[in-house]
């Protein structure tokens, strides 16, 4: 049977050992599926969303309560976005914990990291588009953090938010960043990332002479596994979107003010927790940036994993990178949990 276009996107065969669920956790594939869901549901929301400060929150309410299946679509968009962050983080951890970032995959590791950052920014901008009372604090604090950066802070603030106060211009800027600016970069980096997976020799495995298992699976089997992952994630998403409504709050009246409960979106709670400790530039900008730089440098500053360790869980030769990344993960989770302590 000649492969279809969809089959053709996949390599003819891949190593059976590294194609197992417990190896990939299906994280990369699920991330692509979630992005597709986000694209489709996002486009559907654009038919009704009005990016204007007076009407934005009301249009979100209209989508949620009055557009046929609008609430379901919005919930799908929301939960897919939250799952994407979790799945991306799992994907990153899998790559580090299975020593899959080494030569020649260093560059693709960076592309993946870039996509992760973009996913966070997309989630944040999407959160702001609600333009209701709950977004006041994150909007004001998040954008003011930009201003604390010496020399270029004001410039960054202007290109992301617009001139003057964070008000009417901010919504249009965030909207454009969300549906166009960031999304188009995700498209480019996403295709590049997938292309580089093939170009770098497919999923990370030891060289042929060091492989314990030489069995391979066909692309048909791979596509079937992907389909199963899609069904499972699809069912979970549909149930979440039906039973767990995405957050919504009363429309903002007038300019954003910090009167409501000041809580960042969940993925920035760790930064919010650090902001309680002092200087916003150090805790709100430098440390998160430091974490990102550390992640960027992983393939370059730590010892190269041994060839025989590539594609194996928790190999000894990159233990140090595992400890650093695992430590970052634990600290982020701890700070997030701490933010719930009154």
């Amino acid at each position: 049977m000649r492969p279809s276009f969809f089959h053709h996107l996949h390599p003819p065969t891949i190593p059976a050992a590294q194609a197992r669920w417990r190896h990939t956790l299906a994280a990369g594939g699920i991330a692509i599926f979630l992005m597709l869901i986000l694209g489709v549901t996002g486009i559907l929301e654009m038919f009704y969303y009005v990016p204007n400060p007076e009407e934005a929150a009301l249009s979100v309410q209209a989508i949620t309560y009055h557009v046929p299946f609008g609430g379901f679509i919005r919930n799908l968009h929301y939960w897919a976005a939250q799952l994407l962050l979790i799945v991306s983080a799992i994907h990153l951890l899998r790559v580090v914990f299975t020593a899959a970032y080494g030569q020649p995959r260093q560059f693709n590791y960076l592309l993946g990291l870039g996509l992760f950052v973009l996913a966070i920014l997309l989630d944040f901008t999407g959160y702001i588009l609600r333009w209701d009372m709950d977004i006041c604090w994150p909007l004001t604090t998040g954008t003011n953090l930009l201003k604390t950066i010496p020399l270029i802070g004001d410039f960054l603030f202007r290109i992301t938010v617009g001139g003057g106060e964070a008000c009417s211009t901010a919504l249009l800027r965030f909207y454009t960043w969300h549906i166009f600016g960031l999304t188009i970069i995700v498209f480019i980096l996403g295709f590049w990332h997938a292309f580089r997976v093939r170009r770098d020799g497919g999923i990370a495995v030891p060289p042929p002479q060091l492989r314990v298992v030489s069995a391979r699976i066909s692309r048909n089997e791979l596509v079937r596994r992907e389909a199963l992952a899609i069904f499972v994630v699809g069912i979970i998403l549909i149930l979440m979107a039906s039973l767990l409504p995405a957050p919504i709050a009363p429309a903002m009246t007038g300019k954003p003010g910090i009167t409501e409960e000041a809580r960042a979106p969940w993925f920035f709670l760790w930064v919010q927790q650090m902001l309680k400790w002092g200087d916003p530039f150090i805790f709100g900008v430098l440390i998160p940036l430091g974490v990102l730089i550390l992640l960027v440098l992983i393939p370059y500053i730590f010892p190269k994993p041994a060839d025989s360790d590539i594609g194996r869980w928790f190999p000894k030769s990159n233990r140090f990178a595992q400890i650093v990344v695992g430590g970052i993960g634990l600290i982020v989770i701890t700070l997030t949990l701490l933010s719930f302590v009154p």
């Binding site: 309410q61 009055h66 079937r224 199963l228 069904f231 069912i235 549909i238």
Partner: protein, 402 residues
């Protein structure tokens, strides 16, 4: 793997069916687009059984959100109610300006007689200035009976007849313990205060304290029972500075009055309070007043006259006369152009009265529509001096023993 895919896709299909079924269970949204706002609102989805509040505020015109606030599009109760003004009572004085105000509504100009909110805010019903001044004077916190404090800070620099300002009453630590107890126990009657918890005190705050006589009803026909939620539920015990609730449950109107030694004439226990007491007396005139006697002026003679003077009357010749507006809002009787009605010494129309051709008068109960006739004092044989007309003098002869 192929064997797994089939049940998985079946399960996905089942999940989609579940979503469809789940969505079909949601109530069908009921839209209302009030003509005043032109903006759709969906409150009736859940509140279709709420009666229209008054003929002056038709639901089709005002909708719900104009007065109540709230998230007009939300179908989730918590979100929809989250921004409601004053909880269930948008007329609470803390939010009344947003809910009931506006130049075309109830915070317009005095010339248009649309300054209701300004009047209520400064009235003794909401400042409680007289009671506070008396207590502070009695227990040495001030040296005269002038009003210096009210429930909230108020200023009126333009005032012609009233007080320029009141400071917010707050019992200080060095005040007499009784003033502090007064602050704790005795501030439940002014109309910004939440009343005591007892069904006999049941009333709202703000405008609704007087005008909402039943659930989601606004009326100018205010029965005496509404006034009783403050004025007849007990008394203050000055020895302990506590409010003593009355424990009896009177069934006869004449017994419903709380002052055990008070005397009443027939009209005082037969009519409703609003049949004699005017809008200005109850809601104020826009000036800050020191106490009740500065604003309450209706006496027996207002309707009955004295042995030497007939009560004041006015022939209704202007179709825009305020008497017709008031009569329209509470249609008792049948007021017509050319009718002669009684008016007060300040010119307020007693629009529910009429002078009859034989020189006697008729009155329609504002809350009951009951029909009464009554006579002038002049020519009755009464010899009471025209200068001594407070009710105590009239009670000497006309009080009903109980």
């Amino acid at each position: 793997m192929k064997k797994t895919l089939t049940p998985a896709s079946g399960l996905l299909l089942l999940t989609l069916l579940f979503v469809w079924w789940w969505n079909s269970r949601l109530p069908k949204a009921v839209e209302l687009t009030p003509t005043l706002t032109g903006q759709a609102e969906y409150c009736l989805t859940c509140h279709a059984d709420v009666p229209e509040i008054s003929p002056s505020h038709p639901t089709a015109t005002f909708g719900c959100v104009t007065c109540h606030g709230g998230e007009r599009l939300a179908l989730d109760a918590d979100l929809a109610h989250s921004t409601m003004r004053g909880g269930a009572n948008p007329s609470d004085l803390s939010v009344v300006e947003q809910s009931c105000g506006g130049t075309s509504c109830h915070s317009g100009s005095e010339a248009d007689d649309r300054h209701h909110i300004q009047r209520v805010m400064t009235s003794i019903q909401s400042t409680y200035a007289g009671a506070i001044a008396n207590i502070r004077y009695t227990f040495g916190a001030q040296t005269d009976l002038n009003a210096y404090s009210g429930i909230t800070t108020l200023t009126d620099e333009q005032t012609q007849t009233g007080i320029a300002s009141l400071a917010a009453f707050k019992a200080a630590g060095d005040d007499h313990p009784f003033i502090q107890k007064f602050g704790e126990n005795c501030l439940t009657c002014h109309i910004n205060a939440t009343p005591l918890e007892d069904e006999n005190y049941t009333r709202h705050t703000g405008c609704a304290a007087c005008h909402s006589t039943a659930q989601h009803t606004f009326a100018t026909a205010i029965p005496y029972t509404q006034c009783n939620t403050c004025h007849n539920r007990g008394n203050y015990d000055l020895r302990t500075m506590t409010f003593v609730e009355r424990t009896d449950q009177p069934t006869k109107r004449i017994d419903d009055y709380y002052q055990p030694i008070a005397q009443f004439t027939q009209c005082e226990y037969t009519l409703d309070c609003v049949d004699c007491h005017t809008r200005t007396e109850v809601m104020g005139n826009g000036d800050i007043h020191a106490n009740k006697k500065d604003i309450q002026y209706t006496q027996c003679k207002t309707c009955h006259g004295t042995p030497t003077e007939q009560p004041l009357t006015k022939k209704l010749t202007d179709p825009n006369d305020i008497a017709f507006t008031l009569s329209f809002l509470n249609p008792v009787g049948d007021l017509k152009l050319g009718d002669m009605i009684l008016i007060t010494e300040k010119g307020e129309p007693l629009w529910n009265t009429r002078v009859l051709s034989d020189g006697t008068y008729e009155l329609f109960g504002k809350a009951t529509s009951q029909y009464f006739t009554f006579n002038p004092v002049m020519g009755s044989g009464c010899t009471q001096s025209g200068d001594d007309q407070s009710s105590a003098y009239c009670h000497e002869c006309h009080a009903v023993e109980r």
